[in-house]
Symmetry: C2
Subunit: 473 residues, 2 copies
């Protein structure tokens, strides 16, 4: 049995506006109907796989549980990194946790923001590496290059991969991201693969390697795991020792030093969706190079991506060449395709002008569900609030606003001061200014409520919390 | 005194998505803070001008009154054309109405969707034409060409305009829209002006010309005016005779035949904003040709228009050249600037796929104010409803939905069956399914109300009207 270890603490901005710090690309449905994280978890499920472990950060923990639940996957553990320290501490934490719970496990470490269209071929490649991993090898999976990419590291093979069939081959060394000329040479040589950051090894083998090549990491991460706090199904790694762990990738910390490396070639299609140009390629452009997503219309366009991320948002392109357009109701990106990597600069520019679109979405995900502001006036605001079955908002009060709640789907259990009652579809409740109140969903289906606030100050920080099942301040 | 006659029944689609059939460009703030219609009416006001007449259609009548009120302009008359019949019947109707009310008037006929940055210079040009108009001439205003435009008709001068100073010159003839070569010739010749469709003449002179050159129009239009119905301050021209009037422009019907034509050159800047490329020019592009409007950010762009039509919508362009981007929360246009005239095709394509964005906005303007849908679920809908002071919705009931109303600004007078009461900010009312109800704004400020509907069918057509001050079915 193989335990998938899904890394999903990253928050890339190269796919802005769809990927934002508060809800990055791994949680978005970039290709197909499920999110990249869900697709990654699903791809690594089945008879050969144990329940997955997930490494993420505190901000994303409820997104992870929500998306796993939606995909019907029950995780073995969700480890919360107090702060991002790159891949080495994360993988080490997973290995140390498994050492306690399943010391004979094989670990399949994978990022959760990649696209692998042929999941069966990918599982077959993993199967092909299993024997080597069981024999103590550190197995990495190398992607057959399709072009002279300068954005990835490479794996140099000790032998000719022939037809790139999935079998363990000897690995000579890791190669840093090359310049264009070197990338062309490596593509021509035929003995280099892309480093996709996907690994298979036994708990014992990787711990041995960490102890040999990165001993300074072991004590802090061991302490972070041992002193970690279970919290609502998560394991929160202990912040103090975690802060002592170096911020370093597993490649630098371990792989580049190890002498028990194998690589399994993978040639059935892969992308890290590292920019909108990659998304364009993976979307499957038509004969003129046009790729559409959502309600988008192209008139006489070539080599162009037109994406609308909202069913109620029509996007039209006319006479475009090499243009990427990604439209959301609160943000629109239009870029020359050759400038896909400069989207990061755009995000920085928006951040500099304090535009909330730089990092946040209109939808705000919370432990109990999510809300979005539908309209904000000078002295009123209307929100849609969706509460998961069994979830509850904190017991709270406000100094500056009253609230009208109208339940439009499901049933709410509402507390207003000493009064507790059930409120169902088409019923309303009034929460006077100052009243201590709570909203819960006691039912089996999501509860949707429209909240109309009126008052002189409507900020999220006008809140006094008396009780919170999610231990927030 | 000159009576402005503002023509604003048109509904162009070349400036989609900002201009749509239900709310076309003359009513939008395309350049500056006021709408083109408001700017046109304001430009033709002052000591030399009487109150304006407006020719429009039934769909736009309340937009016209709302925008005039906002601009502080009290119209002499608003004539409603039962259907669009081009400019000749419209101008004739205005002349026949003035014949009855102010037979000695001079009429200044102008479209209401043009941009004239220098209003004082424009009024001076009108002043320069007044003597000729009083002497019985049909005075047209001709724009000094700035480039070899193929989209306009031209006016051929009988004499050299010299420095294009504003004074009446003799006009040889009207010239149809030319091909590119002919446009170049006319630009080089220096004796041709653009026909902007702006005219000054006395009521007597234009009626004499209609009777001489387009006698078939006179009886139907006279009957349409005489049998017109006053309705809430509008004059609704009688549909039956109006339908007998030819659909013809004033150029074809009268001007091309008349021998008492003068033209006053105008060289101080003008645009009909006939496409987004024209809007780009009029917006005042910077040294690299970049024109921005709303929250828009350009990174390394050239000759590009980036417009966001919503304060909450960030638009970013990266590395663009010759691109027009116009973004609204429900529709985004991205076009090569050379294809600005093909926006019409885009609208046709959207119409073919039945996208409501082809013709309608999320905001729905009604006689009493406007509403917009904030969110639509399977069995609920949330609307923001804004009611003008003194206005009232119809007395109505629904078969399939209940409604919760929460007043968030101003005060509402609410009727529910036999109960009538005042509801003010932060108060709510419940309208049960089937109840006969009405919402009014008895106050002096706009009333804003959030409506939460629940029910199995939420279409606008689930309405039984019992009484309506606006005589709707």
């Amino acid at each position: 049995m193989i335990t998938p270890v899904l890394l999903c603490g990253g928050s890339g901005t190269r796919l802005w506006p769809l990927s934002r710090k508060s809800y990055p690309k791994q949680f978005a449905a970039l290709i197909g109907d499920t999110t990249l994280f869900q697709a990654s978890a699903t791809r690594l499920s089945g008879p050969d796989f144990a329940a997955p472990m997930v490494l993420t950060n505190a901000d994303f923990r409820f997104i992870v549980t929500e998306q796993l639940a939606e995909a019907g996957i029950d995780p073995a553990a969700i480890l919360i990194e107090p702060e991002g320290r790159n891949t080495a501490p994360a993988v080490l934490a997973a290995a140390l946790w498994l050492e306690k719970t399943d010391p004979d496990a094989l670990m399949l470490v994978a990022p959760s923001d990649h696209v692998v269209p042929d999941a069966a071929a990918f599982r077959a490649a993993i199967e092909a590496g299993t024997g080597a991993a069981e024999a103590g090898q550190l197995v990495t999976f190398g992607i057959k290059p399709t072009h002279a990419e300068t954005g990835y590291g490479y794996l140099e093979l000790a032998e000719d991969p022939g037809d790139f069939a999935a079998r363990p081959l000897a690995l000579s060394r890791f190669v840093e991201k090359p310049d264009a000329a070197r990338a062309e040479e490596m593509l021509a040589a035929g003995t280099y693969l892309w480093n996709a950051g996907i690994f298979l090894f036994s708990v014992a083998a990787i711990l041995k390697a960490f102890r040999a090549y990165a001993p300074a990491l072991v004590d802090p991460v061991q302490a972070a795991v041992d002193q970690g706090k279970p919290d609502l199904g998560f394991l929160r790694l202990a912040p103090a020792p975690w802060a002592d762990a170096n911020d370093i990738s597993i490649d630098y910390a371990v792989m580049e030093h190890a002498d028990n490396l194998s690589v399994v070639p993978f040639a059935a299609g892969w992308s890290d969706l590292g920019g909108w140009d990659a998304v364009w390629r993976e979307t499957g452009p038509d004969a003129r190079g046009v790729a559409l997503s959502g309600p988008a219309t192209a008139l006489d366009c070539d080599d162009t991506l037109l994406r609308s991320e909202d069913d109620a948002l029509e996007v039209v392109g006319i006479g475009l060449k090499n243009i990427i357009t990604v439209a959301m109701p609160d943000a629109v990106l239009v870029a020359d395709a050759s400038r896909a990597q400069d989207v990061k600069q755009a995000v920085a520019a928006l951040k500099a002008k304090k535009a909330k679109q730089a990092e946040s979405f209109p939808k705000d995900h919370r432990p109990w569900g999510w809300f979005e502001s539908l309209v904000i006036g000078e002295r009123f605001q209307v929100k849609r609030i969706v509460v998961h079955p069994g979830a509850a908002l904190s017991l709270q009060s406000h100094h500056h606003r009253s609230e009208h709640w109208i339940v439009v789907e499901g049933t709410a259990k509402v507390t207003v001061d000493d009064d507790v009652k059930l409120v169902t579809e088409n019923q309303s409740v009034y929460i006077p200014l100052g009243a201590v109140h709570r909203m819960e969903n006691p039912g089996k289906v999501p509860m949707v409520l429209i909240e109309v606030q009126t008052g002189t100050y409507l900020g999220e920080d006008d809140i006094i919390r008396y009780e919170d099942v999610y231990s927030r301040d």
